[in-house]
Symmetry: C2
Subunit: 278 residues, 2 copies
């Protein structure tokens, strides 16, 4: 793991790192906000389509409150990168569009293994290098999809979860079907494993995650086009007894001015849950 840069920020440090990933078979970048007094609670934020590790880090306005709450925050990139990594002209396939899954179809299946990267390789690397006691997971849009799916599959690893304007039912809506066809093939039964609503619908037994916080702007173009569908996910949660707090906000759109408005609510949501974890 190589430190590329480090900046003083709200009494702590914001650093950029690079490492050779075994999951994605390329160098991956992420940022780490280390507060002045870390409590051991660490949040991983998954970004949306077209984003890198930069978007959340520079635009979300998260680090003032993270400093106060002692939260470590990690912002990884959204896909494999590099000249050898296949790409596509679409914004919803290839670089910047990893969809937090392990691709099974050529040419994507060599590098596009963001599911394994986020759910196993990155948390292990982070634990080895930083004073981390427990993890929360959150994200925006495609990264909200990543957070809601990965946290469901790894409730012991990611013990708190939230999302901003998440892609909630990608096997049916928006950018999902085209991306899933490319990455996973045309057998749609394989898609449910990466669909937050489908995963929640088939959940049996008591809730395994604490209450999930979801914020959705009502002036969000992607929402109005039916690409996000947080209601479908909330309905699935209700059907299986998973607590969810889905909040709608008139006047807010899909971008970082929306995220920065509600980011502190998310930080408090995670901190309140994670401070109870030994």
């Amino acid at each position: 793991m190589k430190k590329l840069a480090s900046h003083g920020c709200h009494g702590g440090t914001l650093s950029y790192y690079s490492h050779a990933s075994t999951s994605t078979k390329c160098d991956m970048r992420f940022t780490v906000y280390m507060p002045p007094k870390p409590t051991g609670a660490a949040l991983i934020f998954l970004s949306g389509l077209t984003c890198t590790e930069e978007n959340f880090t520079t635009k979300a306005g998260a680090y003032a409150r993270a400093s106060e709450l002692g939260l470590i925050i990690i912002a990884p990139d959204t896909s494999p990168r590099g000249d050898n990594v296949p790409d596509d002209a679409s914004i919803s396939l290839g670089k910047g569009a990893g969809f937090y899954l392990d691709a099974t179809q050529a040419p994507w299946n060599t590098h596009y293994n963001m599911y394994t990267y986020i759910s196993a390789e990155l948390p292990k690397l982070l634990r080895e290098n930083f004073p981390i006691r427990c993890f929360g997971l959150f994200g925006h849009s495609m990264g909200g999809h990543g957070a809601l799916t990965i946290a469901q599959k790894h409730p012991d690893l990611f013990q708190s979860v939230s999302a901003f304007a998440p892609v909630s039912r990608p096997s049916q809506d928006g950018w999902g079907p085209a991306a899933f066809t490319a990455y996973l093939g045309s057998d749609t039964t394989t898609w449910n494993d990466y669909d937050a609503t489908a995963l929640m619908s088939r959940h049996t037994g008591p809730a395994t995650l604490p209450q999930i916080l979801i914020d959705q702007g009502l002036d969000d173009g992607a929402y109005k086009e039916g690409r996000l569908n947080p209601e479908a996910f909330a309905a699935a949660c209700k059907s299986v007894g998973q607590p969810v707090n889905l909040r709608f906000h008139p006047g807010y759109d899909h971008g970082y001015f929306f995220i920065q408005t509600f980011i502190n609510d998310h930080l408090h949501h995670h901190a309140a849950i994670l401070e109870t974890i030994k």
Copy 2:
């Protein structure tokens, strides 16, 4: 004046505008943060080299506290723009490097009139379109130079002033001499009119500005290279009785992680002064 985009943000709106400027003879862009309950106090933030209206707007984290304090914040671009506007390969001359002066030398003197734009045209346009009672002025790096020079020359218009890592003595230091030679010519006596330290040194009579707040990071590469020299400006203030609060911060560099750390202090500084203005 044309509204290009508008986004909900901390209970108010962040909007992008464009207008045909008579000063710079091109279309100019700026952003306006309008808080939910504006008090009538408006701050103009002047950005640094290479920046546009985007940098402060997306990275400074100013709008949460601006919303609470009822401050309107305007972030203009740093230079004229467009295919007809002359440019230079250097980062410190041409587009993104207007230096908040009125150029006297060809080919710059047609469009590069950022001094008139910021000190006259833009405030007039803003007053005509928004509920503004009074103005404060602040900025970063080259924009700190702009704030410290323009506020000194227009203390009745800009009634509070602050700066982050300002270029404080450009007639002698850093990027200044080359840029001033191009924009103003080789007669260095004309340069003093755009040099915060020279302007303050020749000030006579009592202070005309309330206390000026300046923050400077000690890990700032530009500072360590002698390009900023806020000490020279503070010494000039002291010599003429102008109150100044120059604060140094170990561990902070020249970028927006530094600015976001101290932005709320600046907002409170301006709000406390401007709330006393009728």
